[in-house]
Symmetry: D2
Subunit: 347 residues, 4 copies
């Protein structure tokens, strides 16, 4: 940490700060500048936070030196993490294994919600045929209004399991609360933690306790530091298979549901070894922008794509406005494969 | 809902849309303008969402007419709701009742976290003496990093109950997850749902099932519509004692932890009958701005104030940078009383 | 400046950085921490910028110590600046002098645009009677669309001068471009630089060359540092009579035209000695929120209020939605006087 | 326009609104819904604004149907506009013509500022060799601080003209104020209006009067509607050669200088026929993110790329942190060509 003192701060204040730093385990190096006194506090600064040190009398601001996360950082693990999803336990016998974090860019496609058995099977077969590597659909739905469709719950999980058996595609589905983790973990090849739960710390901890890989979506107003600290909650539980996903942030823009902050992809790749996916469906919220932004996601280095596909988007119970039809999805897969090839990857 | 068609949309598309609207229970009134066709869909538009209708072929945009919440709205209940906190069950015998939503503006003060028995008792007595009406402190803490202090859990709740007995102040404390609701409800006079949980819909539902009043803080990137829909989750469970709290939003501003969006107070008062509080501690994140913004909160009509106070902010385990000392709090209470009086209220 | 090196940066990189710093006139103090090397560069860091130093190989981030503005800072001038507007040259004989920055809180009221002679005279007399200290109205209007009313230009300035003669109120009006500065300066007691021109640096410089005081409004997405650097452009020209005005920022909020960031008022008061005003009309954009937010502005320490008033807001050519009627303004003045008194000021 | 009335609005209020609409030239169609009265106002709604109608008593909100811009819209000109830059007057004899808006994606490269003759010539030759189609560099620099390098002014323009002669590359350079337009127009093949001047309406008008094409960058907090209205200012002056450029917006994100809102590219392409460029240098502000985001820009359909290149970014007087070296630029050009090919375009 760097502590910058206010102009006119006293010798006593500086001495007091030095003592306080030693108390919490940091070694102060004090520099008397012309306009400001500065203390560089050397040591593992994760014992404290900038906010806490900001309360020391005379301190104007505190500048952290180190990132507050460890297990997620490139410094601990300098090379990208690669792991597989699917087929790794007896209850999920049919799934094909899919590797995330490598040269191949898996596409995770499906409807926003599991609406019924036949809808799900139809879309599962269709996305598989078009080249998707995994199936996504929600059985537990976090809905903005209590008057909206809230998902089929366990019935939805059963349809997902059936779709996996029928197609071999591993399934990724959202879990909303710690007590549902064992249930969803029994069915799903990968647990999704949604944007509204990125800082549901008890859910993060619960997902750190299971064996299933975790897809942790970025909170819609999360900084990258907060995001990686959320991943750290899962990682500290012992679950090392965490992947991240840029899905749009909240800004003043009003022609999209979210502003798709794609620079987060190269930025996260510098900071962390975890695979980074992109979700252009939520990232824009507008169907006609999804193809362009999926291509952009591949071009800027996403390690996987999450995308909403429905046999009849107009009648989708949720998120129809951002969902591709099967035909649109097939066309997009072809375009994206060409881009993947152009950057030396496959899809 | 108003459906606006793209320029050049066909008669078939309009007819199809009319049929689709009737299917979901809305009566279409079609207007052929010079540049655009518009359908006004009359009926209870809460049967659908703008996003769903946006998928109808030919539709350029969908404009909702009605707010999607009901129980929280001024239209259902035109006059402000008033309710009391404290003293309403056998387990909480000592608390003094405090009324929220009336002319009197209660102040809910205390440390960010329960750090120990003596710390809590000291601050409880001090804030009571300075004029606070209720005590706030966290036993379960949602922390950005897994390496930070996470709260004393049930031990903290016990200290809170003891502080209530000692001072008569009702206690407000946060609950993080549905399964903790019964435990926290046993100790607390009022359950707080924090900003990170504003869209934890299962927690909202769980809080709708208990008898304790609920303080629901605004999510840090929530629109007012999303906020009132979150309140609607609690209200639809049958719990009518919900109060709201502006606590700062996430913007580009970097001299504050959050941008304190005080216009939300008059805006919410137009839309809802629920009491609206203000939290200038989180609303700014900077101790030296708290007094000015507390005065502003009172002046613009807040029905209550949440404020962080600690005997020694420099050593607070959490949020020290935004916490007032007891002396600062006493001074502020005096200033605020004068402002309350100037606008015909009391504190 | 503090330069933080990447983990694994080499001794050569650090040496190179030390040389580079000396080249530009800063003295490097290098600290070898366990996880990071840090250089504290001592000296007047305004010779460079954090962005420039960030390009030195091996540097991870650069943390500035000092604010980049000087003349606007509290460090140069520790006590608040007070100055008068009005009556200070032969061309403006009738205006009453008004002091900004003192205990008295002047109100600057008037219509958004000068629409005609009689409209302006009517509102000028009315706001004077209600207690306003100065008259504001635009003759040159920056309008979002080329199809909207663009202002009466010099004809409007003449009506403003006539209104000043009739009422004695000094006038504040916007100037849009450097070549108009002499013209507007001939008529106006104070030049307004609008939010869209906060970083029109040539206009800022031109306003630094005249004798008239300047009201510089905050840009709608400006940080406080950018804002104070904009003021610095005027101040470095020799014009010391600059006042600032919080007028709302652009965020995700959609129930207001802008988010009124009132904490900027105590924050600016810590950083600068210049008077800080508040504009609740633009700050919210919604008439029904203006009274509450004006009261809040007074309560949190604004040194003056800018407010839009029109005899018939429904027929105002510009900004009708946020404009008070004369009756509403009179009522608000009374409320604000009571709040001013409660905090030991007058209005 | 759609006018939605408050619940409980009176028959008189509706009648008054109908009259007011007829007065301003719109035909009201009134619908009495169960919960709300709605008036659809048919006609050219550009005669008014939603803000103005919002002041009619009883009106709760006003929803516009049509976009407020005309000349920029796809409705007026349904197919993409293509135009050339360079070689179109006697003063600019050497430039090669470059077409914007077609299948070929031109790259406009160069240093942030013209720093001197040799620097500019070096980079001009280098970017040409690597495949750039035009040269960009600033002679007039809008700088946040008055203490920073402000550009070489006309001397810089002369070096630019010399670089054009030497390489044949057309030049694009910024103009800051209306009175400089004739001067810059004498030297430049294309005038750039920077992000801080997007709503400098007099500058927009002045650029509408010249023959040179105009590159209008998006304001850093501009909505797309405001952006297209800014273009409309130039277009209404008679200058039809306007191109747009996404260059990042201001949000809460702190790991970038701006959030690169790439979905603006497909969104603008739906709304306007004008060519849409992308500026990944300013769009991120971080050199290491520029290659990924340039690839993404090409993949999502940008009609041109603006990019900062400098022989020695570490010593650049401005914007070094986001500037590529010549070697980095050459590598990037190759990657982008492959992506352009993958989507059926060339570079």
């Amino acid at each position: 940490m760097i502590l910058v003192f206010k102009a006119g701060s006293t010798r006593e204040q500086v001495t007091h700060a030095e003592e306080r730093l030693r108390e919490i385990g940091l070694e102060p190096h004090t520099l008397l500048g012309v306009e400001r006194t500065v203390i560089a506090a050397v040591g593992d600064e994760r014992v404290t936070t900038a906010e806490e040190l900001a309360s020391i009398p005379g301190v104007e601001k505190v500048l952290p030196i180190l990132a507050p996360y460890k297990l997620a950082s490139r410094e601990l693990i300098p090379t990208p993490t690669t792991f597989t999803i699917g087929g790794d336990s007896e209850v999920k016998p049919c799934a094909t294994r899919v590797t995330f974090g490598g040269t191949f860019i898996p596409v995770v496609a499906g409807p926003c919600s599991v609406e019924g058995r036949s809808q799900l099977l139809e879309v599962a077969h269709a996305v598989k045929e078009a080249g998707a590597s995994a199936l996504r659909a929600g059985a537990f739905k976090p809905r903005t209004s209590p008057y909206q469709f809230q998902g089929l719950a366990e019935e939805g999980l059963e349809y997902l399991a059936e779709a996996r058996e029928a197609t071999g595609l591993p399934i990724i589905t959202e879990v909303l609360t710690p007590t549902d983790v064992p249930l969803v973990a029994k069915y799903a090849d990968c647990l999704q933690i949604g944007t509204r739960n990125m800082q549901n710390f008890l859910l993060l901890r619960a997902c750190g306790q299971v064996k299933n890989p975790v897809l942790l979506k970025r909170g819609m107003s999360a900084t990258l530091e907060e995001y990686l600290l959320a991943a750290e909650y899962v990682l500290t539980g012992g679950n090392k298979r965490v992947m991240l996903c840029e899905r749009g942030i909240r800004t003043f823009e009003n022609y999209v549901r979210n502003t798709f902050a794609l620079a987060a992809i190269p930025a996260l790749k510098e900071k962390t070894h975890l695979p980074i996916l992109a979700d252009p469906s939520h990232g824009t919220g507008v169907r006609s922008f999804v193809p362009a932004m999926t291509r952009a996601s591949v071009a800027c280095g996403a390690d996987g794509i999450l995308i909403e596909v429905h046999p009849n988007p107009e009648k989708a119970l949720t998120d129809g406005a951002q969902t591709l039809s099967i035909k649109e999805f097939e066309k997009l897969m072809k375009e994206c494969r060409a881009i993947a090839q152009a950057i030396g990857r496959t899809m």
